[in-house]
């Protein structure tokens, strides 16, 4: 199973919302929607691993850090993200990072409910 980490992104959220609408209009079952999301997890994980090849640097000040269930959550302030082509500045950013080396399967842990948003 792939990380469900990427469900809370623009791409993932729009998929979930679309699935929600279809469920509401009873065109699909919640079970089917879950299958779609699982497939999405696989697809996005592999796409990121294989089709993306760029680097980003960033610098800022660390406001909070948390390490729980092998997931790091950081909140940084006044951050600059630097890519070769452009510079992005934000006042506040939240970074959620799962372990890149080993994949842990998470059940419905309350801590990460925001990552495994509803179906």
């Amino acid at each position: 199973m792939a990380y469900q980490l990427y469900r809370n992104t623009t791409l993932g959220n729009s998929l979930q919302e679309s699935l929600d609408e279809l469920i509401q209009s009873q065109q699909i079952t919640p079970q089917l929607a879950l299958q779609v999301l699982l497939q999405f997890d696989k697809a996005i994980n592999s796409a990121l691993a294989q089709r993306v090849r760029n680097r980003v640097n960033f610098r800022g000040s660390l406001n909070t850090y948390r390490f729980c269930d092998n997931v790091w959550t950081f909140v940084l302030n006044d951050v600059e993200f630097r890519e070769v082509t452009e510079l992005i500045k934000v006042d506040k950013v939240k970074i959620v990072a799962c372990d890149g080396k080993r994949m842990y399967f998470y059940s419905n842990t309350s801590v990460h409910r925001d990552m495994f948003t509803h179906i």
Binding site: L11, E21, L32, K42, L62, A97
Partner: protein, 377 residues
């Protein structure tokens, strides 16, 4: 162009992911007996939402690309009309969610496959009677462990802004209950029901006009009745209750509670505050509206009992240096979702080695395969 690298790769990647997912789930859809058209509808919805979010530049769905091409060749208006026909069916479904964030969609009378008659016992219906919130139908179903064959059909916004879920079982009987969790929408209005959109056989239910007073534990079964939309509020015409056996006994109870609760109606603003202005219900602020009546009474009693300490409460509450509320109010929180290779700390100097991330910064999406960062704590 300076932006070209990211603005080129992100839409492409997203589109390829969409294609992959759609193709991979096609089999699952067919196995479940779901029409291919629904799959296409999913894809359209997905792409449209991506476009609407504007997180990605230059993202067009395939249909739109065709549209653009054709527009260049033919007269714009004619072609658009032509294509609009194709989109017509999809549009009403899109506009409804656009108008209101709540999922309030009228559902045609098509019922599910027959399922045994379901009476949901009170205890299961509601756990906590706070204001309710928008939850997806599936989440509600999962949360409340609804029996198979029963899905939330609608969410109704009642007079005082409470959100009720309407559930329809296979036999047409409809239940109402209030899910838990805090509410956000106060002023949201149920999207006007277009005459065309209202299907004759359907329609809701809704409890009698006393959202706050209703005991949350009432499992009411009612027959379809009509909802009057007057201005911004929905008024409900209570109807005779369907004769669905076990729950029937509860209905008279609900009926009795109704008149009692009615006087208490326009709730929160009119509740008398006995303990003075030193109100410290900061935790309950998030819950906003519609606090349970009993809860409020308990709070009043507590505050009344600690008269001498009322003044101290505001002092103590200032000790809390939380700026969380300010942060939570942000609309676009900049988020980076990724995996970590290595996180290193030396005294208060942190180094981050991250990979495979999707970032949403200032409303736009970015992607990286590797990210290295420094920060001081």
């Amino acid at each position: 162009m300076a932006n070209s690298a990211n603005t080129n790769t992100v839409p492409k990647l997203y589109r390829s992911v969409i294609e992959d997912v759609i193709n991979d789930v096609r089999d699952i859809f067919l196995d479940d007996g779901v029409d291919e058209q629904v799959l296409m509808e999913l894809k359209t919805l997905w792409e449209n939402k991506l476009m609407q979010s504007r997180a990605v530049d230059g993202f067009h769905s395939e249909e739109q690309q065709l549209l653009l091409q054709v527009q260049q060749q033919h007269q714009p208006q004619q072609q658009q009309h032509h294509h609009h026909h194709h989109h017509q069916q999809a549009q009403p479904q899109q506009t409804v969610p656009q108008q209101a964030q709540t999922q309030q969609v009228l559902i045609p009378a098509s019922q599910q496959a027959t399922a045994p008659q379901v009476i949901v016992p009170d205890s299961k219906l509601i756990q906590h009677m706070n204001a309710s919130s928008i939850t997806s139908a599936a989440a509600t179903a999962a949360t409340l462990a609804l029996p198979a064959g029963v899905t939330p059909v609608q969410q109704i916004l009642t007079n005082s802004g409470q959100l009720l879920q309407v559930v329809r079982a296979a036999n047409g009987a409809q239940y109402i209950f209030q899910p838990q969790q805090s509410v956000v929408l106060q002023q949201q209005v149920i999207p006007q029901m277009q005459p065309g959109g209202v299907q004759a056989p359907v329609i809701q239910q809704v409890l009698a006009p006393l959202p706050g007073g209703i005991s949350p534990q009432t499992g009411v079964i009612i027959q379809p009745q009509q909802i009057l939309f007057t201005g911004n509020k929905t008024q409900v015409i209570p109807t005779t209750v369907a004769a669905a056996t076990p729950a029937q006994a509860q209905i008279p109870a609900a009926g009795q509670q109704q008149p009692q609760a009615q006087p208490a109606q326009p709730q929160a603003p009119l509740v008398l505050q006995v303990d003075g202005t030193g109100d410290t219900s900061s935790e309950e602020d998030e819950d906003e509206e519609e606090d349970y009546d009993d809860d409020e009474e308990e709070d009043k009693e507590k505050d009344g009992a600690e008269d001498g300490q009322v003044e101290e409460e505001p002092l103590n509450s200032e000790d809390d240096v939380s700026d969380e509320e300010g942060q939570e109010l942000f609309d676009t929180e900049n988020v980076v979702v990724c995996q970590y290779d290595k996180i290193h700390r030396s005294k208060n100097k942190w180094k981050f080695h991250l990979k495979d991330g999707i970032m949403n910064l200032n409303g736009r999406d970015y992607i990286f395969s590797k990210a290295i960062g420094d920060a001081e704590w």
